[in-house]
């Protein structure tokens, strides 16, 4: 769907993107990276706001930097910044932007209503957009990105400024959109939990290059034989019993412990020990690297640590 070959771009003397090559099939991808990695620059290149200094690219079969207008017809962009067109209500604004994308006026109007219902702004869609709260503005930004039914959605920090309830709903909306076939989404976000709950593949950038392009599951490696548990009850006798079985006990944080089981000890032994010492195991799981740890590993490797 997106093919980039050796794209480079600099802001004056500062090289923002160096020889980036990418081949993304259809689907939903997370775009991650530290500040200054080039994520925003990459998005701007895809949108045609910037023209690459060198290299070629293709989005959905159309050449980058040549077929600007026609490319943009098929892309929906949800910017991170606070952006608005004041003096209009949500329906007027969404329909206006839909018209500017090439929709006939009445279609744009109908679709604007549909899309505003979908993002949850149905009750406030006749209000002036300047009066909207932060969460509502985010939803409006999503609505205007969807109004012309693009094939590619670029979402930049989609949950920024939203309260927990709003965040949850926004992520649900994104997951719902992703379910539709022929919808492609790229999400750029600082929040790893957001990416984890919506995407299965990520692209990680660092210092202007792409350092990883794989599935989240592939990034997270299972550490065998370490279990994380939370217990309620008298911990000391329980842990003593475990140690007597040659198990390692490590306190992590927030009452979370890691139990290292040697190869010959089955997890069932944990439960037997708990039952015998009258302790409840309320949380039990094989320890997994979190996306955060995996991300740190990738970046550190790329930085040569």
């Amino acid at each position: 769907m997106i093919k980039l070959e050796n794209i480079s771009f600099s802001y004056g003397n500062i090289e923002a993107i160096r020889n980036v090559s990418l081949a993304l099939p259809a689907g939903i991808f997370g775009l991650l990276g530290p500040n200054g990695a080039g994520k925003t620059t990459l998005m701007k290149l895809l949108l045609g706001f910037l023209v690459p200094a060198s290299g070629r690219g293709e989005i959905m079969g159309q050449a980058l930097a040549e077929k600007q207008k026609s490319l943009r017809r098929g892309i929906g962009y949800m910017p991170e910044s606070e952006c608005l067109i004041p003096g209009m209500d949500a329906v007027a604004l969404t329909a206006y932007l839909g018209e500017l994308s090439g929709m006939p006026r009445q279609e744009a109007m109908k679709r604007a209503h549909d899309v505003l219902y979908y993002v949850g702004l149905e009750e406030s869609r006749y209000r002036q957009v300047e009066t909207y709260s932060a969460g509502m503005k985010q939803r409006l930004k999503l609505a205007q990105a969807l109004v012309h039914d693009p094939k590619l959605l670029l979402l930049d920090e989609p949950t920024s400024g939203m309260d927990p309830a709003g965040r949850k709903e926004m992520l649900e909306l994104i997951r719902d959109i992703a379910k539709k076939e022929s919808m492609n989404i790229i999400i750029s976000s600082h929040l790893l939990p957001d990416i984890e709950s919506t995407c299965r593949q990520v692209v990680i950038m660092n210092k202007g290059r792409i350092v990883a392009e794989e599935s989240i599951a592939g990034l997270k490696k299972d550490n065998f034989n370490i279990y994380e548990i939370k217990v309620v009850g008298e911990q000391a006798p329980f842990f003593a019993k475990l140690r007597s079985l040659n198990c390692g006990v490590e306190e992590k944080d927030q009452a979370l412990f890691h139990i290292l089981l040697p190869g010959d000890v089955a997890p069932a032994a944990l439960f037997r020990a708990a039952h015998e010492t009258g302790v409840q195991i309320r949380h039990f799981r094989q320890s997994r690297t979190s996306l955060e740890d995996a991300f740190m590993d990738v970046i550190n490797e790329a930085n040569g640590h």
């Binding site: 910037l50 017809r73 929906g76 962009y77 608005l84 549909d114």
Partner: protein
């Protein structure tokens, strides 16, 4: 029994087709024109701007009925067609109202977008820089031409009706169209060029007004010191008046060749457009 289809929940695709056209900037213009129309004081400004037309309409009517004694001084002044139209277009009051109209309809066009950071929303659309500028330009042009070109043509028509003769010189018609075009394009490009300078609309409104006032005062001071009319090339209303004289072939109001004003106004318009185009390009990259 046929099974009833249930409307799918969740996101739905749109079945239509997106059209590309040469006029894809038109929604910007239509939207902008409506917004200006709904502003406070709109009706006041429009009536004031139209008032010159009505006065001249009356004068034209009166000139065909020598029995009427009212407005006789004005009628005497308007002996020839050229004089009539030149005085109509280039009179101080109308120029003043045109500047007010420019401020009213144009000062906030780009500066409001700057303030509310609307650029990312616009430029993510299949809209080129020239589309955006054309759209905004047309908003100001629409209002300016409505109070110059349209009354001009109407005045000609009514004159023909009142005098009962269908003759007019083609040169006159050319003048009736050329003057508003040059003057309004000039004012519109100046307004937009200033509008892109700052997100603070009040500041832009004051700036445009100051350009109008200050340029004229400066010209008068310089003329008083150096005793040469050429200094009126600095004055905004002065240039517009000279333009009127140039276009209609009447005696120049100031003692310098009238075509200089026409040239200057055109040159400034072109410069303003280049400047705008460059600034928008910068803004697009920084979005």
């Amino acid at each position: 029994m046929k099974q009833m289809d249930i409307r799918e929940k969740g996101y739905r695709h749109w079945e239509g087709e997106l059209k590309s056209s040469h006029f894809n900037w038109l929604p910007i213009t239509l939207n902008g024109v409506k917004t200006v129309f709904k502003k406070k004081y709109a009706k006041l400004i429009f009536s004031l701007s139209a008032s010159t037309f009505f006065v001249f309409l009356a004068a034209v009517y009166v000139s065909t009925k020598p029995e009427l004694k009212i407005l006789s001084e004005l009628v005497r002044l308007l002996k020839s067609d050229a004089e009539l139209f030149k005085t109509f277009y280039a009179n101080g009051f109308l120029i003043f109202m045109l500047v007010i109209l420019s401020i009213f309809s144009g000062a906030d066009l780009i500066s409001a977008d700057l303030k509310s950071k609307a650029f990312p929303l616009y430029f993510a659309r299949p809209l080129s820089r020239s589309d955006y500028l054309t759209g905004k330009f047309s908003i100001v042009l629409f209002y300016l031409l409505s109070f110059t070109l349209v009354p001009g043509i109407l005045l000609l028509l009514f004159k023909m009706i009142f005098t009962g003769s269908l003759s007019f010189s083609p040169l006159l018609l050319l003048g009736i169209i050329a003057f508003p075009l040059i003057a309004c394009v000039f004012l519109a490009s100046l307004t937009l060029a200033l509008s892109i300078l700052s997100p603070n609309t009040k500041f832009i409104q004051i700036a445009i007004f100051l350009v109008y006032m200050f340029s004229n005062n400066l010209a008068q001071i310089l003329r008083a010191i150096f005793k040469s009319d050429y200094f009126f090339l600095v004055s905004l209303p002065g240039n517009i008046q000279q333009l009127g004289c140039f276009v209609f072939g009447t005696n120049p109001a100031y003692h310098f060749p009238a075509w200089l004003s026409a040239l200057l106004l055109t040159a400034i318009s072109a410069l303003a457009v280049f400047w705008l185009s460059w600034r928008i390009k910068k803004a697009e990259a920084q979005t």
